[in-house]
């Protein structure tokens, strides 16, 4: 029995070292983000507007139901004047990173290079850049600075010591965006500030009928206007091609 126990310890040690190898910690540079991707999210995607339909399709001033706004946030939302935005050339304030993925539209995702993922949105002709590894320093703009990483299963302090049968596609894309210029969460003047931090998880889901969905879970933290982190989800259906791709300028109303 003692032999069995010592062998078990040996196996556990070896298993641990093997796992370390597999994740690039045992030596050598980690694989490029593109090569390490647990799933392929490139291609054309269309918003399925089944969540927050009213607020995404036909937002009206003062309709901030669901947004955990503090009194200051409500004040800003209630005083929104679309004419002022137009006059100031600020038509794109609702098209920043915290808002763009919920605006009904199509998205084209490509690898800009092995370490950089690009998302183009036809609504407002916006471009988001996800940097794996070090993100460049930059001034605040609508899309901010997005740092990306693949988050594989079994993260956290504890790790399974055996029996991990999660399969090959066990991971998500985590994107953290900061350095944002103030903008709107919805196309009705519901604000976020330059203090906002956006954390997004992208997951890929395949249905048995062949439909493929990209599921986005977003957490927006903004101590300036929100009483608690705002957590929402959206999803996108993969298209075979660019059908419906319709780049259009930002519109306030």
């Amino acid at each position: 029995m003692r032999f069995c126990r010592s062998s078990l310890v040996l196996v556990l040690v070896l298993l641990g070292s093997l796992k370390g190898h597999a994740q690039g910690r045992g030596g050598g540079p980690p694989p490029a983000a593109r090569a390490a991707a647990p799933f392929d999210m490139t291609g054309y995607w269309v918003s399925i507007v089944s969540e927050d339909w009213r607020w995404r399709m036909f937002p009206t001033k003062g309709d901030y139901a669901g947004v955990p706004l503090n009194p200051e946030g409500r004040k800003v939302a209630d005083s929104w004047d679309p004419a002022k935005d137009e006059a100031a050339g600020e038509q794109c304030k609702a098209y920043g990173a915290p808002g763009i993925m919920r605006i009904p539209g199509r998205f084209h995702i490509t690898w800009q290079d092995d370490q950089t993922l690009k998302i183009e949105a036809d609504a407002g002709k916006q471009i988001r850049i996800f940097h794996f590894g070090a993100a460049p320093a930059g001034g605040a703009d609508l899309q901010g600075v997005s740092k990306a990483e693949w988050e594989f299963a079994q993260r956290g302090l504890g790790r399974a010591i055996a029996g991990d049968r999660g399969g090959p596609q066990a991971g998500s894309l985590k994107v953290t965006t900061t350095n944002l210029r103030p903008g709107y969460l919805r196309r009705n003047g519901v604000p976020y500030s330059s203090n906002a931090k956006l954390t997004e998880y992208y997951d890929l889901v395949k249905e048995s009928n062949g439909d493929t969905y990209l599921v986005l879970t977003s957490t927006l933290e903004d101590p300036t206007y929100l009483t608690e982190p705002m957590i929402t989800a959206a999803h996108f259906k993969q298209q075979a091609d660019a059908t419906g791709w319709n780049p259009a300028p930002c519109a306030v109303r």
Binding site: F3, C4, R5, S7, L8, L10, V11, L14, V46, S47, I48, V49, S50, E51, D52, W53, R54, M57, F58, T60, D63, A65, G66, V67, P104, G105, A123, E151, A153, A160, G163, D164, R165, G166, G167, Q169, A170, G171, S172, Y201, D203, V205, K206, E207, S208, N209, D211, Y213, V215, T217, T219, M230, I231, T232, A233, A234, H235, K237, G244, N246
Partner: protein, 624 residues
């Protein structure tokens, strides 16, 4: 060398594991197969609350009338929803209606998920879910078991199996009752299957649900919901609900609804929120970005919306799969207590077994009678003693002769009656309404083995196989000779063709059937049923055709017939002819579930039966 060492260690580990684990087979635990597949994946255990940062006003039991944007409702579903009245909630069977997946995720109460592991093998046999609102109790089997047959009962939670796909738990659910996509009239049919993908990131669980509903959706409805983990488990998990009298003195054949095109609340939501009416009506086009361009022509959008308020297009047939196993075999299903259902040969057959001979309700079409006798023989070592015919229709009495001949009624042998009838006790005794006997004898040539033991108006009572059995005549419902049977201890009601889950009632006006009698019969049954919890469980009902149900489905069937009656009656009141009534397509919202455009019982035939029996009701249908 490292590889060799590692391989050796694995062998040793396997041997040790076998020593540790390879003991006598573990006894079965309460849930799941203890020796099912070994699976592991993300642990979702914990207490959660639904996050209303999205769809804030659309939690369960909420939602304004005609707030259906983003739901791919088809035309029939939209008509159903436009006809629905919130006052329906005052009807007894609707007061404690449960919620179905995936709508349950949007309930504002507490949610709990936990793992069920076999105590001996520690295999994950199921993932459990409890939702406070409506006390939703789900078991997601992870042990690789198949889903039940199509003729098995449905529940609001449905029957779920799961598997891990990477870091995602994918759950497939079938056998769901008719429920809500949104509790403002937007229906999810009982033919829907739901796939849910659960994704956990830290304390957040995102669920992408995809509803495939051939009856009420024009394309699969996909939608996300978000749960947030609660660090402290709440102490509020119940949802006390009992139905009660809401409006005293109201007749039991009153079901609130709006006639097509006459819902007075249809514009409230759109006007209040500055949404195009066309958008508020939902439909597949509202899901996509291009819908914004489609409604820019406001006049055209308004005209299109108005056209959607009344039926249009060609008549539709049911899109729900037939649960009847038409594979040439008899399928046996244990319903409750001593009662079984045998399906596969025409109308459903019910069998009650016990220390006495088998009591059989209906005998099917007669094509598979030998198999039926054999299957009954497996359920009961005693002969078939009694046969009850709920109808004279051929699919209910076709096996009378073979089943009667195969049985025996020992209660007659050696009794007083045996002196009067030479064949007393030889073969089972066939019981039925007098009109079943009459109709069978009137056929040319007369049909074999009509009931010999008949009744007219009052219930027929028996205490058989240790339980009270009541046979109730249902005058002028499907015919003038229908009966239902209530097994009181088993708490199973055999409804005959009074209730089917597959088609509109086959109201045989020529043989004394009527819509009024049919509605009265359904209400008679509802006066005898109970549910266990929130319209699930309780009294089981074996329909003439289709799957086993409880009172919920029967109440919905009653509601449908009352609503259709009211629509037809309104047109009759305005002097409409039968052709005008047919052309109005007053059943358009139900045709996709119960209608047929061809075959032995078409929607047109049903509408004609409704019209005829409303214009010329049989005397008994109006007497009580």
């Amino acid at each position: 060398m490292k590889t060799a060492t590692f391989g050796f260690a694995i062998v040793i580990f396997s041997v040790c594991s076998a020593i540790f684990l390879g003991q006598a087979p573990a006894p079965a635990s309460g849930i799941g197969n203890p020796l099912g597949p070994m699976v592991s994946g993300t642990d979702f255990s914990g207490s959660y609350r639904w996050l209303n940062h999205q769809d804030a006003t659309l939690f369960t039991a909420a939602g304004a009338i005609a707030d259906w944007g983003g739901i791919p409702l088809n035309d029939a579903a939209r008509l159903y929803a436009l006809s629905w009245s919130a006052s329906r909630l005052t009807v007894k069977q609707h007061q404690c209606m449960g919620y179905v997946p995936p709508y349950t995720w949007m309930s504002p109460g507490n949610h709990r998920i936990w793992e069920e592991r076999d105590p001996f093998t520690q295999r994950l046999v199921a993932i459990r879910y409890w939702g406070q609102i409506a006390q939703v109790d789900r078991t997601i089997y992870m042990d690789g078991r198949p889903h039940p047959p199509a003729y098995a009962p449905h529940t609001f939670a449905g029957f779920s199996t799961g598997k891990f796909e990477g870091n995602i738990l994918t759950v497939t659910t079938t056998h769901i009752k008719r429920g809500w996509l949104r509790a403002n009239g937007a229906p999810q049919s009982d033919a829907a299957t739901v796939t849910e993908h659960l994704i956990r990131h830290g304390d957040t669980v995102t669920i992408l649900a995809v509803v495939n509903d051939p009856v009420y959706l024009s394309e699969p409805m996909s939608k996300t919901s978000v749960l947030a983990r609660q660090p402290i488990a709440p102490d509020a998990w119940l949802y006390a609900c009992d139905d009660s009298e809401q409006i005293v003195g109201r007749k039991n054949d009153y079901v609130p609804s709006h006639l097509f095109g006459q819902n007075p609340f249809v514009r409230e939501y759109a006007e209040k929120n500055n949404v195009p009416l066309l958008g508020s009506f939902g439909g597949r086009e509202t899901l996509y970005p291009q819908f914004l361009a489609a409604v820019k022509d406001t006049a055209a959008a308004e005209a299109e919306a108005k056209a959607k308020m009344v039926p249009s297009g060609p008549p539709q047939s049911s899109r729900a799969p037939d649960p009847t196993p038409n594979d040439g075999n008899i399928h046996v299903f244990h319903v409750g207590g001593n009662v079984y259902m045998l399906a596969g040969d025409g109308a459903n057959i019910a069998v009650q077994v016990g220390p006495q001979g088998a009591l059989v309700i209906d005998t099917g079409a007669g094509k598979l009678s030998d198999q039926i006798v054999a299957e009954i023989g497996k359920l009961s070592s005693k002969p078939i003693q009694f046969i009850v015919n709920t109808s004279f229709h051929a699919d209910h009495v076709g096996g009378n002769k073979k089943l009667q001949t195969a049985g025996a009624d020992p209660s007659l042998m050696g009794s007083f009656f045996s002196n009067q009838f030479a064949d007393a006790g030889q073969g089972a005794t066939v019981i039925g309404h007098q009109n079943v006997q009459t109709r069978m004898q009137e056929q040319k040539p007369p049909w074999d083995t009509p009931p010999s033991d008949t009744y007219l108006e009052d219930r027929r009572r028996k205490y058989h196989n240790d339980e009270a059995v009541e046979i109730f005549p249902m005058p002028n419902a499907i015919t003038d000779g229908d009966s239902i049977v209530h097994f009181r201890r088993s708490d199973v009601i055999v409804a005959g063709d009074i209730f089917t889950t597959t088609q509109y009632p086959f109201i045989d006006v020529r043989n004394g059937g009527s819509l009024q009698g049919e509605i009265r019969a359904l209400n008679f049954i509802l006066d005898r049923t109970l549910y266990q919890h929130d319209e699930d469980g309780g009294t089981w009902i074996i329909p003439g055709h289709g799957r086993v149900t409880n009172e919920w489905e029967l109440a919905e069937y009653r509601d449908m017939l009352v609503i259709i009656r009211d629509r037809v009656q309104a047109m009759i009141k305005n002097g409409a002819t039968l052709d005008q009534v047919k052309a109005a397509r007053l059943t358009a919202d139900f045709d996709v579930r119960f209608g047929q455009t061809a075959g032995p019982w078409t929607t047109d035939m049903f509408v004609e039966a409704v019209y005829t029996s409303l214009k010329n009701p049989p005397q008994s249908a109006t007497a009580k």
